[in-house]
């Protein structure tokens, strides 16, 4: 007889074999497979027990499913229990083998031993499929009336899972379920409350009628778990029923004052907030708001991190409806930003961004910037950055008073190491510079400074997106070059050899803006009658732009080539002594104004234009449309008006000549594979004897739209 390992031995064995764990476990699994082939249920149950343990290591044990069912069917309770435990760990709903369990489960439900039914219910709740739910729904509903509360309570919970898989079971079962709310046994009552709360949350409207029952339960019960569930449910129901909200305020306020359980206090506060959110026009609601805020303040200032977190979480809910009440505690929230706990910092950050006003924007952003400098966590830094931009740009920059300040904030952000939101900063820079005319000079100065900072050029770091900022900077100095003091130095920065290692979109922008700068230099020099500078700059660009022309990116290549070509033309024209000043000026004349998305709607419709009438005659809806097909296709007359390739019409003689010529050519062509002319039997009628029949088609053989094919 084999000396089998039991679970203890297995565990010890694995611990002893840490160095070759996988191999040891593989060996154990082999042993288990052998054990499962034995007839002895004891051995099998032991084996399954070991498998349960191994599953935690990540080993799939579903191959043993049949054996698990065997053990489940054992009459010995301890075996049965192991079987069901294993089933709850490894059975999935899609397993075909589940059909084998239906009768077994029914049998176990009706067992004399209540523990049999209990472990069955436990197991079933984990693997119930739609089929099982349909087949066993009635059996479980019957168990609701079991004499044992131990069973009743479990049946209620499993019933919920059955409802999920087989929704048709809900309707017939509902009255029985509702009756359980009055069950004498508190734990059964609690389970019923649990399930009905779950159902109600998914479909609050249908369960509004239960509100009075729950109200009674709430005022009479001392079971905190149940109270919390009920109070949470009320938070979901109040938006649907105003009178409920009004009734709740008083008992909830009492609970807030009286309870010593933090969890209950927290839940009550949350629900009061939900009630206040739903109805802002309630008597005495300001005192309720104050009560909540003051209690939350106590939570946030508590030394316990958990309470701090939850306090901040609840504050954010109040913020939406009563921002002023929260704004008063701005300093406390700013202090939370200094907390070492990242969860708390993120919550505080979230809260702050909802509390922004014109007065506190600068102060808050300053605080956040300082955090960006000091923090080590990159994810937090990214979060801070995107938050700063969000609060500044929200509602169309509603809170920004000084845009020069904002540009300098953006410039500072652009220089932060390893950020992932370069594109965000870049879009902001562009947006603000384009839309706020007054700060363009400042912006250009700042961008010049950024470009001169060689750090921006050395951008190949993984994930760093400062390239986007370069894009913005290059575009801004090019577009608003009238504010530049030294155009040549910017040009030199653009033409650095390192520029070719920038991301292609940035290079494309650089090439284009080089042209803009060129045109400005040209016009200025023309004004000063400085022909030498023009010649020199033109030649320099023609020499240096090819480095972009060699790029593997198509956009960069094309722009560079276009630019080079244009410059060469300019050079050629000037060499001939002609002037090209006006054309150069025209190149970038005119201002690109930002256009609001709703601008099109504001354009007045010109007189006499009615957009609601047909421009052409509408297509006829009649069913004899098929006969009108001709109208859709191009006819002979239409076609002659269209310019297309005309193939000359050939006559018979010409055709004959061509045929002869072709035959001769084929004879003389050594590579032409001739057909087998010797097999006379297969020879059919001579091609030339086949008459060309003309088919009478209602649809002309013309392909609409294709000019060439239409001529054939």
């Amino acid at each position: 007889k084999m000396f089998e390992k039991n679970l203890n031995d297995l565990v010890r064995g694995i611990r002893a074999n840490k160095s070759n764990e996988a191999k040891y476990i593989a060996q154990c699994i082999e042993e288990i497979k052998h054990e499962l082939r034995q007839d002895n249920t004891n051995v099998k149950a032991n084996a399954i027990c070991k498998l349960i343990y191994l599953q935690m290591f990540g080993y799939d044990i579903s191959w043993a499913a049949f054996n698990v069912i065997e053990v489940m069917s054992s009459t010995k309770f301890t075996h049965k229990r192991i079987g069901y435990l294993a089933s709850s760990q490894c059975f999935t709903e899609d397993m075909d083998i589940l059909t084998l369990t239906t009768n077994l489960i029914r049998k176990d439900f009706s067992s004399q031993n209540q523990y049999d039914a209990a472990v069955t219910l436990n197991g079933l709740s984990c693997f119930v499929s739609a089929d099982l739910a349909r087949d066993l729904a009635n059996d479980v509903i019957t168990l609701l009336a079991s004499t044992k509360p131990y069973i009743r309570k479990r049946a209620i919970i499993v019933l919920y899972k059955i409802f999920l898989k087989f929704p048709e079971a809900l309707r017939p079962a509902y009255p029985r379920l509702k009756a359980k709310l009055d069950d004498p046994e508190p734990s059964v009552q609690s389970a019923a409350v649990n399930v009905i709360c779950e159902l109600a949350r998914k479909n609050p409207q249908n369960y509004l009628s239960l509100a009075p029952i729950f109200f009674k339960l709430m005022t009479n019960s001392t079971n905190n778990w149940m109270l919390i569930k009920i109070i949470k449910l009320f938070a979901a129901l109040t938006p649907l029923e105003p009178r409920l909200g009004k009734k709740l305020i008083e008992p909830l306020t009492n609970l807030i004052h009286s309870t010593s359980a933090m969890s209950l206090l927290y839940e009550c506060i949350n629900t009061v907030i939900a009630v206040l959110l739903a109805f802002t026009s309630m008597p005495n609601h300001s005192s309720s708001v104050q009560l909540c805020v003051s209690k939350l303040r106590l939570l946030i200032e508590d030394a316990d991190q958990n309470l701090k977190y939850l306090g901040l979480l609840a504050m954010s809910k109040i913020l939406k409806a009563h921002p002023k009440a929260v704004q008063a505690h701005k300093d406390m929230i700013l202090r939370c930003l200094d907390d070492k706990d990242e969860s708390i910092k993120l919550r505080a950050l979230d809260l702050l961004s909802g509390m922004i006003s014109k007065k506190n924007l600068v102060e808050i952003v300053k605080k956040l910037m300082r955090h960006i400098e000091t923090t080590e966590s990159t994810s937090y830094r990214d979060e801070l950055l995107s938050k700063i931009i969000h609060i500044c740009s929200q509602s169309n920059y509603q809170y920004v008073a000084d845009f020069e300040w904002y540009i300098s904030v953006l410039v500072e952000l652009a220089q932060v190491d390893g950020i992932h939101h370069g594109s965000l900063v870049a879009t902001q820079l562009l947006d603000v510079t384009v839309r706020v005319k007054g700060i363009r000079r400042f912006s250009v100065q700042q961008m010049t400074m950024l470009l001169e900072n060689s750090k921006l050029m050395g951008i190949t770091a993984q994930g760093s997106s400062t390239g986007d900022v370069f894009f913005a900077a290059a575009w801004i100095v090019g577009e608003f070059s009238e504010h530049l003091s030294d155009l040549r130095s910017i040009m030199h920065i653009f033409l650095q050899p390192r520029a070719t290692s920038l991301p292609p979109p940035v290079q494309a922008v650089i090439v284009h803006n080089i042209l803009k700068l060129y045109s400005r230099i040209y016009l200025k020099a023309e004004n000063d009658n400085d022909q030498d500078t023009i010649a020199e700059v033109t030649q320099m660009l023609i020499d240096q732009l090819p480095m972009f022309g060699e790029s593997s990116d198509l956009e960069v290549q094309e722009r560079a080539c276009c630019a080079i070509q244009m410059l060469k033309y300019i050079q050629k024209i000037r060499d001939k002594g002609l002037t090209v000043t006006d054309e150069v000026r025209e190149m970038f004349a005119g201002e690109l104004n930002p256009v609001a998305t709703k601008a099109q709607k504001k354009v007045p419709v010109p007189e006499g234009l009615n957009l609601d009438i047909w421009i052409n005659d509408p297509p006829s809806d009649s069913s004899d449309d098929e006969l009108n097909n001709d109208a859709m296709f191009v006819t002979e007359e239409d076609h002659n008006n269209i310019q297309g390739i005309k193939y000359p019409k050939v006559d018979e003689d010409e055709l004959k000549k061509r045929r002869e010529a072709r035959k001769l050519e084929q004879e003389n062509n050594p590579y032409y594979i001739k057909g087998n002319t010797k097999s006379k039997e297969l020879e059919g009628p001579d091609i030339n004897d086949i008459p060309v029949a003309s088919l009478d088609l209602t649809v002309p053989l013309k392909v609409p739209g294709n000019m060439i094919l239409s001529t054939l």
Partner: protein, 141 residues
């Protein structure tokens, strides 16, 4: 409802894992791995709540074991902390001052105790006496 319960030691090894929603195979492994990665490095000073995907992770450390519970937004966070406390005390009573080794060596008993407390993601029993009574009753079967 409770989505899952995980007992992990400080080296990241799972000692107990129970899932109350349908999640299998690779998805389950990923969930476990990421959950463990997020919870283990946290210090004592940090709060016990972590937001992960659409769940809230609530955890507590007792000696060398991390008790991690994943819940959806319908659960009260503080009551889950109380649940974890209750679970530890129940284990303590059954195993007489529970240690990680006790749970490792008696995995099937630990699951049975857990199943007396939580079914299908819902708490069904909180009294330690009533939780352990069936276990004692069926012990000598």
């Amino acid at each position: 409802m409770i989505k899952f319960i995980l007992l992990v030691n400080k080296d990241g090894q799972s000692r107990l894992s129970r899932y109350y929603h349908n999640i299998l195979g690779e998805e389950r492994e990923n969930l476990e791995r990421e959950t463990i990665q997020k919870c283990l490095p946290r210090s004592k000073k940090e709060c016990s709540f972590l937001e992960y995907q659409n769940m809230m992770l609530i955890y507590r450390r007792y000696m060398s074991l991390f008790f991690i519970v994943g819940v959806d937004s319908d659960e009260n966070e503080l009551s889950i902390l109380e649940l974890i406390q209750n679970l530890v005390e129940t284990f303590d009573r059954y195993f007489n001052d529970v240690s990680e080794l006790d749970i490792t060596m008696n995995v099937e008993k630990a699951y049975m105790i857990l199943d007396e407390m939580i079914l299908n993601g819902h708490i069904i029993e909180t009294s330690k006496n009533r939780i352990l009574a069936p276990i004692y009753a069926t012990e000598n079967n």
